[in-house]
Symmetry: C2
Subunit: 113 residues, 2 copies
DNA sequence: TACAGTGTTCGATCAGCATCGACCATATCA
DNA sequence: TGATATGGTCGATGCTGATCGAACACTGTA
């Protein structure tokens, strides 16, 4: 474990309040992250590989929120930070919530015109 | 139907976006309204009968948000505005979401010093 | 008509959060 | 060591939404 990974503070879904879960999931950018993450195998997506309409600092902020809300797990692999969706744990804590998010049609951050 | 009821703009859950649903449900005061409403028969609770830690104007605002988000239905009965939780319709549109809200332990607006 | 009860509307305030640029830290490689 | 890439941290900003008091509107009743 690297020095950076060591400082990562994770929260298990069982310790997350409904308020925090809803707050985390209420942001459209964060829902986009969750959907992209659900479409790839665990530990295959680094933070920078997501198609998001926000700056780097904002992106970093959103990942912190998701991690604190028990929605994702993060691990450092070299200079990159890999992610994993905590699907089963979160589903046990808040049944149906993640399903609603993942069922939502993806928002288009239009590259055309 | 009274003049006041006539001006009530309702939204059916099928026309509500996930964003609007989550925004509506993210507020603790609104979740308290939903829980109290679930514990009583339809059309038996007027807006003023809810135990909420906010002023009258704020209360009115929250009911409007809930109505617009397809979570409640309202009807005027004399000077009072009665409410009904749109449980089955909303459940069909967002399965599990309302269950999470109603399962949440009630918050205590403490009357005991 | 007058009054009381219920609820809305208006205008203002305040706090929290998303957002950003700039800078810093770490890891990898030449 | 230097260069590059990834990502976090800091401080500031702007916007949205919750909140409130005051005034207004409607209903029912005396």
């Amino acid at each position: 474990m690297s020095a950076r990974t060591r400082s990562l503070t994770h929260t298990h879904p069982t310790e997350v309040s409904l308020q925090d879960a809803l707050d985390a999931v209420s942001d459209p950018v964060r829902r986009t992250i969750l959907r992209e993450l659900a479409g790839a195998p665990d530990w295959t997506r680094a933070c920078g590989t997501f198609d998001l309409p926000v700056a780097k600092a904002t992106r970093s902020h959103h990942f912190t929120v998701l991690r604190t809300a028990g929605l994702i797990e993060q691990r450092d692999e070299g200079p990159r930070r890999l992610n994993r969706l905590r699907r089963p744990e979160f589903d046990r804590r808040f049944p149906g919530l993640l399903d609603l998010v993942l069922a939502e049609p993806a928002t288009d951050h239009g590259s055309s015109a």
